[in-house]
């Protein structure tokens, strides 16, 4: 086992990362005994595990992801949602209401319209990348009120932070509620419009400076400054 990069080193496609029996996660591929990066990103090595955290790229739906979709079309038994991804999501009435629906008796257009934002979970993605969504359960379904912000999907883990540290900090400092979908869409709810705007600004800062250190502290200071009446 030989390692050719340091942890969190910037790597480019085709760069040799390691040789030997590593467990491969995203952003890497193997040829013979050699492990290479397939994207521009930060190499991360933890014992046997090796992966590259991409710095760019679109959202690809994965089972279990929480996403925020926007309804783009309706059909007789459900809706098609834009997921800020090459692949659209399918949501059926039963997946939204969590009960059996008699389509002859009930008009489903009363539940969602084109343009509505929906908080949903990806329950299945098949090999043809057809995406099944479910939006029952608490906190799921049609999103009302609040502000929708779109950032690069690769930066979402930074918005959430280690064990949710960043999003917890933003919520407690600003008094706004935050919900980050893996597809790069974030909902913000808050009574104070000034603070909501500050959170939007903070999120855009995170997107720009996701790869710098000490970001949580800087965002905290920024929000505290706005909160105490600063610009």
């Amino acid at each position: 086992m030989m390692l050719h990069v340091q942890n969190r080193e910037l790597v480019i496609p085709g760069q040799l990362l390691a040789e030997g029996s590593y467990l491969l996660y995203g952003g890497v591929f193997k040829e013979g005994k050699c492990v290479y990066s397939s994207v521009v990103g930060l190499a991360e090595v933890r014992g046997q595990d090796i992966r590259v955290i991409p710095l760019q790229g679109c959202y690809i739906p994965k089972r279990g992801d929480f996403v925020i979709g926007v309804v783009v079309d309706t059909h007789s038994s459900g809706w098609i949602l834009d997921l800020n991804s090459p692949y659209a999501g399918n949501l059926f009435v039963s997946g939204l209401l969590d009960r059996k629906v008699d389509l002859d008796r009930e008009d489903i257009s009363q539940y969602l319209k084109v343009g509505d934002a929906v908080a949903a979970e990806v329950v299945d993605v098949d090999e043809r990348m057809r995406v099944m969504l479910e939006a029952s359960g608490p906190g799921m379904g049609k999103v009302t009120g609040g502000k929708l912000v779109e950032i690069a999907p690769t930066k979402i883990p930074r918005v959430i932070g280690k064990k949710g540290s960043m999003s917890t900090m933003i919520q407690s400092t600003s008094g706004c509620r935050l919900r980050a979908g893996q597809n790069g869409r974030i909902m913000i709810w808050g009574d104070d419009t000034r603070m909501v705007r500050a959170v939007v600004e903070a999120l855009l800062t995170i997107e720009r400076e996701a790869h710098t250190s000490g970001l949580t502290d800087r965002v905290h200071q920024f929000l505290e400054r706005i909160k105490s009446g600063g610009e």
Partner: protein, 241 residues
């Protein structure tokens, strides 16, 4: 353009380079805001802009492949890129170049990861001085990496040729037009696999082998510049106040 009397004088070329020297090279990644990935390259007087969009939903729908992404490349020359105004729009030459560039990238991009989607690569030649297809490939490789598209390797390309009996690297317009041979080569720098090779003119077997070896050395230099361009974009920026 008139034919110069001699293309090589005392082992120096028209622009003062030695036979095995590249033209000045400048690559910049991420120059376009609205593209998913982009790059700008200057190889001597060649100026090419490349933009990558995708993977995204592919339209028209009938082009979608159920098991892979479809790579679409478009090479285009601006009307003002050459001495005599070029009639705008696709022509025989640019359609062919688009095709060979697509085939140069197909073995590199992990298209199987994104079924039913499309990846679009646009290469716009703003100023041409021989070897625009190689410049376009170099820019497109950086733009694809900048878009976060998984790839086995980058692709580096350069042209070699024969001018008045000498094997030379990275031809300029005069050498391309009045020289004996022009041979663009694209390869994967890591494994030294050739993904594009065309030849206009002729070479003996021995000359061909020397030319190919020279092209590989040229590609390595270009690869270093591509790497540097990508790392420059993503290097940790100094902390802001």
């Amino acid at each position: 353009m008139e034919k110069p009397e001699k293309l090589m004088v005392d082992g120096k070329r028209l622009d003062g380079r030695g036979p095995e020297e590249l033209r000045p090279l400048k690559i910049q990644a991420g120059v376009l805001k609205r593209a998913d990935g982009s790059a700008y390259i200057e190889m001597g007087n060649n100026k090419v802009l490349a933009a990558v969009y995708g993977p995204r939903e592919l339209h028209p729908r009938h082009l979608q492949q159920p098991d892979t992404a479809v790579l679409r490349c478009k090479y285009n020359m601006a009307p003002f890129s050459v001495d005599d105004r070029k009639r705008p729009g696709p022509d025989r030459r640019s359609v062919e170049i688009s095709k060979v560039i697509r085939e140069a990238f197909e073995p590199v991009v992990f298209t199987k990861l994104y079924p039913r989607s499309g990846i679009d690569v646009f290469m716009e030649v703003l100023q041409a001085d021989a070897g625009t297809r190689t410049a376009a490939i170099n820019a497109a490789a950086v733009a694809l990496a900048d878009a976060g598209i998984p790839m086995r390797d980058l692709v580096s390309a350069v042209s070699v040729g024969k001018v008045e009996g000498t094997i030379v690297l990275d031809l300029i317009k005069e050498e391309d037009q009045y020289g004996t041979t022009d041979m663009p080569v694209a390869m994967l720098p890591r494994k030294k696999v050739i993904t594009l090779l065309q030849m206009d003119g002729h070479l003996t077997q021995d000359e061909f082998e020397r030319a190919l070896a020279l092209a590989m050395r040229g590609c390595e230099q270009i690869y270093e510049a591509q790497k540097a361009a990508l790392k420059a974009k993503y290097a940790t920026k100094p902390e802001e106040e």
